[in-house]
Amino acid sequence: MFDQLSDKLEGVFSGLRQRGVLTEPMIREGLREIRRVLLEADVNFQVTRDFMKRVEEKALGERVLKAVSPGQQLVKIVHEELTSMLGERRSPLALAPIPPTVIMMVGLQGSGKTTTAGKIARKMKREMRQTRMVACDVYRPAAVEQLQTLGEQVGVPVYAEPGSQDVVGIARRALELAQSERDRVVIFDTAGRLQIDEQLMDELKRLKEVLKPAEILFVADGMIGQESVNVAKGFDDALDITGVVLTKMDGDARGGAALSIYGVTGKPIKFLGVGEKLDGLEEFHPERMAGRILQQGDVLSLVEKA
């Protein structure tokens, strides 16, 4: 039942065990294999390096050297370490003490902001909170129509000013409306942008000033590679994001970006996007994510039994 990594590691260790002693070079060889698995899961190489340093210390300790199945033991250590590095606890959405709770969606082009806005609106509505969405993407063709369609699908009103390019003005008027209508939650969709696009990043900063959001959710494509670190850092430095949503995790992406993004921003991953439909939103579980990155099943319970 053990997956690839454990098998590989047992292979690495088998030669050593025949001789009865597990040596440091053997463990280092095993660690090398783990490093490779992390890089293949798109964990950023710097984050991988830091991570491996921590694992190395533990692995060279007694636990592995004396273990009956050192491969499994090593995977267990890595799994534990990964889990703790992905953020210990699940982190729900922050609701403002005085409504409305303002949520801003930000991120690169095509990462899934608009869809995730619809998903969160659906969730809020089902939790009996009066919710509104606001179309602050004035650039992408038919971005407003996209949000309006999603609004209809979940039964949540959408504020938009078709034709207007005044993003901050739209946001201000939307917020006033939300206050007078006693909305509980207002979700602002914004246009996709590069973290190096100063003008557009500035627009987000001005939006933040006006909206004073309880949540600024950085939406990242779960298939993103090594750049995840620079992108997340760019958005976090500019906006001090409050959380992360990793989308398109219904595919076979290993999602190493989860570790990278958390590693550089320290901001919790709040949700996973697991489908194009509006019910495709899941809470984030660090231990499951760790298993996914390592391509392992439930390592902990298996080792416990062994």
């Binding site: 280092r28 660690l31 090398r32 490093r35 490779r36 890089l39 293949e40 899961a41 798109d42 950023n44 190489f45 991988t48 390096r49 491996m52 340093k53 190395e56 690169l108 082009q109 095509g110 990462s111 899934g112 619809g118 650039y139 992408r140 063709p141 038919a142 971005a143 129509e145 996209q146 949000l147 309006q148 369609t149 999603l150 699908q153 590069l194 973290q195 190096i196 494509d221 298939m223 993103i224 590679g225 090594q226 750049e227 995840s228 620079n230 992108v231 398109k248 219904d250 595919g251 076979d252 992406a253 290993r254 190493g256 970006a257 194009e276």
Partner: protein, 291 residues
């Protein structure tokens, strides 16, 4: 010391500081080349270093660039689009996972071909995503090309069929068919794509003349699985690498080339319809290794 946290490069060459091969490896990994391609490329440099041919960091970089150029130039590397010279319109089918830039790339291609004096039609084969049809319609207006619409939820193969009918009536030169983004793991949706491809071929011999997979340059190792799966269902003819105006390097295309021998035909360098340029191998090799 062998620093496992850093590198797989085991042989250290005399007269070289340890950092340089490691630095190279970091650069390649950091540009999303992936582990196997990175090890192959550093291996090449290592061999050169052992023979004393490459000594400095500059030599290393040049050697890697040359190797990248060699890989990308081998086999199928023509960026020219294939047109239909046998009568009837030329048909391009655009595929890829969600949000990579398919629809925008279609607008860019339509703009490019229109400027070359061709009559272009774009067809709204994404009947699934909210606002997708409207998005393509807006682009058609901006580009000033023909547009074949649809209603949400309609069978995309039927839209493709309609598009070919209308293209004949309106005497259009090139039809570009949009498709909904789909993850390569979604079996039903992948079958649907196969059907679109099949219908095009039935309606017009030799169509589609290009089936381009759009790839987001920020994508990591999952790109391999994407191209493999799409290619298994519909014969791909090339790749368009988008969002190259960002900070991602798109190094995965080197591994893709080695594995699937598909040419990158264009890169997307922005959100405007003018932001599409043919892929330049030398330039790519230069930029992908820039710090």
């Amino acid at each position: 010391i062998v620093d496992v946290a850093l590198t797989d490069v085991s042989v250290l060459v005399k007269g070289l500081d340890e950092g340089s091969l490691e630095g190279l490896e970091e650069q390649l990994i950091g540009a999303d080349f992936g582990v196997p391609a990175t090890l192959r490329l550093t291996g090449v440099v290592e061999t050169l270093a052992e023979r004393g041919v490459a000594r400095s960091q500059r030599d290393f970089l040049r050697a890697v660039r040359e190797e990248i150029v060699a890989i990308l130039s081998a086999g199928r590397s023509d960026t020219a689009l294939r047109f239909n010279y046998e009568g009837g319109p030329t048909v391009f089918l655009i595929v890829g996972v969600n949000g990579v830039g398919k629809t925008t790339t279609i607008a860019k291609l339509a703009h490019r071909l229109t400027r070359q004096g061709r009559r272009v039609m774009i067809a709204a084969g994404d009947t699934f995503r909210a606002g997708a049809i409207e998005q393509l319609r807006r682009w058609a207006e901006r580009v000033g090309c023909e547009f074949v619409g649809s209603e949400p939820g309609r069978d995309p193969a039927a839209v493709a069929f309609d598009a070919l009918e209308q293209a004949r009536e309106k005497n259009v030169d090139v039809v570009i068919v949009d498709t909904a983004g789909r993850l390569h793991t979604q079996g039903d949706l992948m079958k649907e794509l196969e059907k679109v491809h099949r219908v095009l071929g039935k309606k017009l011999d030799g169509a589609p003349h290009e089936t381009l997979a759009v790839l987001d340059s920020t994508t990591g190792q999952n790109a391999m699985a994407q191209i493999r799966s799409f290619g298994q269902l519909v014969p791909l003819t090339g790749i368009v690498l988008t969002k190259m105006d960002g900070t991602a390097k798109g190094g995965i295309v080197v591994a893709l080339k080695e594995e699937f021998d598909l040419p990158v035909k264009f890169i997307g360098v922005g959100e405007k319809m003018t932001d599409l340029v043919p892929f330049e191998i030398e330039q790519f090799a230069e930029e992908v290794m820039e710090a």
